[in-house]
Subunit: 303 residues, 2 copies
């Protein structure tokens, strides 16, 4: 199962308000956004936990995208529920409520199939849990992880232990700076590389993304979007497109492959922000993805 | 003089402090930053005003870059002096003092050679003065202008009159939003196009730049810079590279030409921020520019 991606992360119900409307207990969570995006490119198995209230229709929605839910535990209690709001500039999400519910006691358990996956994505959860997952794995050929400011302040030693075993780290600008104390992103990424990862991806929202891979530095723009409806999950959707494309490639360390993966991540996240919850990425066709990819890449072919 | 650029704007002495040091009365001003950048590509004539204190060495520095200073008036009094400071994130300049001095009564006067220039760049000055300059011109084949929040709030009617006669407008994100009341940059640019310009360039600092030209939308990243020393003049340096390259091209309306011009603007501004004042752009060789251009463009050739 060289090309199969195992993702471990949150499965949530999101109630989100933006200038374009609101959702109530819509499908969300890092593992969900990642999976819907990655499954456009590679097989995905999800490990997560939901409560007894998790709607059957959401389960069907994910399965129809060929996402394996054998690792989706159902525990007594309620599903993780996030309530948030965005201003019209969509820069920062204001958290109104975080009801962890069953997610509070999430202990990822892998079965034999999970452990044999060739690619692992550790979405943003407690770095100790991320490491426990990694320890249960066979010999994945590609391991990537995400994290957040919360873990960097509260569990830095655990995170640093994890980073030693990780190929690619996803962060945003603030997290890169927080992790290293270095303001300049190039210098910061170089310092993070010394902690273990050979690839760093800095997600910058509508300013695009930067990739640091060995000696290479690549900055690419976001795909311009005329109507941003809901940016929730854009980062995980980016990671999904990126990892999904890499997992399908024979040699993920080839820089041309990685640049294409960055572009697919960009394109997938541009779809994500165009509608609430998973509405856009969960229903998009491969031909729409390819056509936006071509348009994106062609615009940058400056000659 | 089809390819000669006339620039009208400020010539200043800048005292700037950043985390990397400080300058005292160093060469600055929008017309200066623009000219040093544009003169790498096309002949430039400058119209501006300085006081009797303007150092002879600065005059020589500009002349050595083949910038025509016949239109640089010397008036009794002191040269425009700006005192500013940047935080370590370089996002916003804090103005400590603005001593307009002779610039307060600047009335641009064009001679016959100026009026026959094929390309005009109206750097950020009072839109009434910008319009007076335009009225003195023959039939320039390309007119571009810059502006700022101050004129948008205080002299919007004058600015709107000017925009009717302008081909390309340079703004930053906030100015685009302020001018239209529209937050989304694509929508905002489309509204600005209805005011006259067929091309809008939105300068976004380290997030790169966006170009709107007729139906085309192009977003390009900044060239990653490892040590930002002083961003003063980066926007005018961008405009200089962009306009300098366009002026030298047989058909500036060709989109491939415009995309290359955007890239040269990006590259020139990346040099600008690497040193104080005009130290980097004023001394850079054409071969260094070309080599960074090739590197920048190649990195974006995703295939």
């Amino acid at each position: 199962m060289k090309n199969t991606i195992l993702v471990v992360g949150s499965v949530a119900l999101d109630s989100v308000e933006t200038i374009h409307g609101r959702t109530k207990r819509a499908l969300g969570g890092s593992a969900v956004h990642f999976s819907l995006s990655a499954s456009q490119f590679s097989p995905v198995k999800m490990v997560g936990v939901v409560g007894e209230d998790f709607p059957e229709k959401y389960r069907g929605y994910l399965k129809r995208r060929n996402i394996c839910l054998e690792g989706l535990e159902v525990n007594p209690g309620k599903t993780f529920h996030w309530v948030g709001r965005y201003d019209r500039d969509f820069k920062n999400a204001e958290t109104i409520a975080t009801e962890l519910n069953v997610f509070r006691h999430f202990k990822p358990k892998l079965n034999g199939d999970h452990a044999r996956c060739g690619v692992l994505f550790l979405a943003n959860i407690d770095p100790d849990l991320q490491r426990q997952v990694l320890d249960q794995m066979g010999r994945p050929r590609l391991v990537a992880c995400d994290t957040m400011n919360y873990w960097i302040s509260l569990k830095k030693p655990s995170l640093l232990k994890l980073l030693k075993k990780v190929d690619i780290l996803f962060v945003n600008e603030e997290e890169a700076r927080q992790l290293t104390g270095e303001y300049n992103l190039i210098k910061s990424a170089r310092q993070i590389m010394k902690m273990g990862p050979r690839g760093i991806i800095v997600k910058r929202g509508d300013a695009g993304a930067m990739l640091f891979f060995k000696d290479n530095v690549l900055s690419i723009p976001a795909h311009p979007v005329e109507k941003v409806v809901d940016p929730t999950g854009a980062g995980d959707t980016f990671a999904g497109g990126f990892m999904g494309y890499l997992a399908a490639a024979p040699d993920w360390k080839n820089f041309d492959v990685i640049r294409r993966a960055m572009s697919y991540g960009t394109v997938m996240s541009s779809f994500n922000v165009e509608d609430f919850s998973t509405k856009s990425v969960g229903t998009i066709t491969k031909s729409k993805i390819c056509s936006r990819f071509d348009k994106y890449v062609d615009a940058l072919h400056i000659r």
